[in-house]
């Protein structure tokens, strides 16, 4: 089965990110497929390439990146949510003349159409709210 995952919560602020990661791993471990993980609302902060949590805690940013690298999982942050919260890739940082990019390289910035595509084309849509 093809799952679409939506994450609304910022990392460490609610259980949203942890639960979504556990769920995504379980989807893969049980032989199912992830259509896309769409980060919306405060969920876009999961795309931060600047997270530096203490070493004895889960590095949520690194875990999302591992998911993308090992399983080719499509990690998309909503462009409108990202821009207003300061999550910019280098293209957007240049466009808005900001001093640095903040988005990790394993995430893609895209529009809300990707959320709707996920809702339409995944067999199941699972939202991790906050």
């Amino acid at each position: 089965m093809k799952f679409g995952i939506v994450v609304h919560g910022a990392p460490y602020s609610s259980e949203s990110s942890h639960s979504a990661l556990h769920f995504a791993q379980a989807v893969i471990d049980t032989g199912h497929e992830i259509h896309r993980v769409f980060f919306y609302h405060d969920g876009v902060y999961n795309g931060s390439g600047l997270m530096a949590p203490p070493q004895d805690e889960w590095d949520l940013g690194a875990r999302w990146a591992t998911l993308a690298r090992e399983h080719g999982t499509d990690l998309v942050v909503c462009v409108a949510s990202s821009l207003r919260r300061g999550m910019l890739d280098s293209t957007e940082a240049d466009r808005y003349e900001k001093p640095a990019a903040s988005l990790a390289p394993d995430f893609t910035v895209s529009g809300l159409g990707q959320l709707i595509d996920t809702a339409i084309n995944a067999d199941r849509l699972v939202t991790f709210g906050a």
Binding site: G4, V6, H8, Y40, H41, C78, A80, S81, G111, L112, G113, L115, I116, D117, A119, I120, A122, L125, T127, G129
Partner: protein, 117 residues
């Protein structure tokens, strides 16, 4: 054929859930049949006479009025949650169809995906 149900459950100006949820609704209407259900404090998103000038947030209740132009003909709301807040449909900026719990269950079952905010 995809049929999407958007559920708004949060009060309008304490978080951006309502406004960003509404953005998702508008995008959804470009690709699929979409319906909107207001529950819990989400009903306050369409309360009449909102004035956010001192708050620094956007009064997006007006955008709800445009939903019919996007093909969203009916806005549903939980009858129980409307009554619990001492409100009637006359207090809201858009016409709503109040639904009981059984009808809400049926509404959810009639859609291919639910996007909750």
């Amino acid at each position: 054929m995809a049929k999407l149900l958007f559920i708004q459950s949060k009060a309008p100006h304490g978080s951006l859930f309502g406004q960003e949820g509404l953005d998702a609704i508008l995008m959804g209407t470009a690709f699929a049949e979409c319906n909107v259900l207001l529950v819990e404090d989400g009903i306050y998103q369409v309360l009449k006479a909102q004035d956010t000038r001192e708050l620094g947030t956007k009064d997006y209740s007006v955008t709800y009025k445009a939903l019919p132009d996007y093909g969203v003909s009916t806005i549903y709301c939980s009858e129980r949650h409307l009554l619990a807040r001492g409100l009637t449909p006359d207090d809201l900026v858009v016409p709503v169809e109040p639904l009981g719990n059984d009808a809400i269950k049926q509404l959810m079952a009639d859609h291919t995906a639910i996007l909750g905010f």
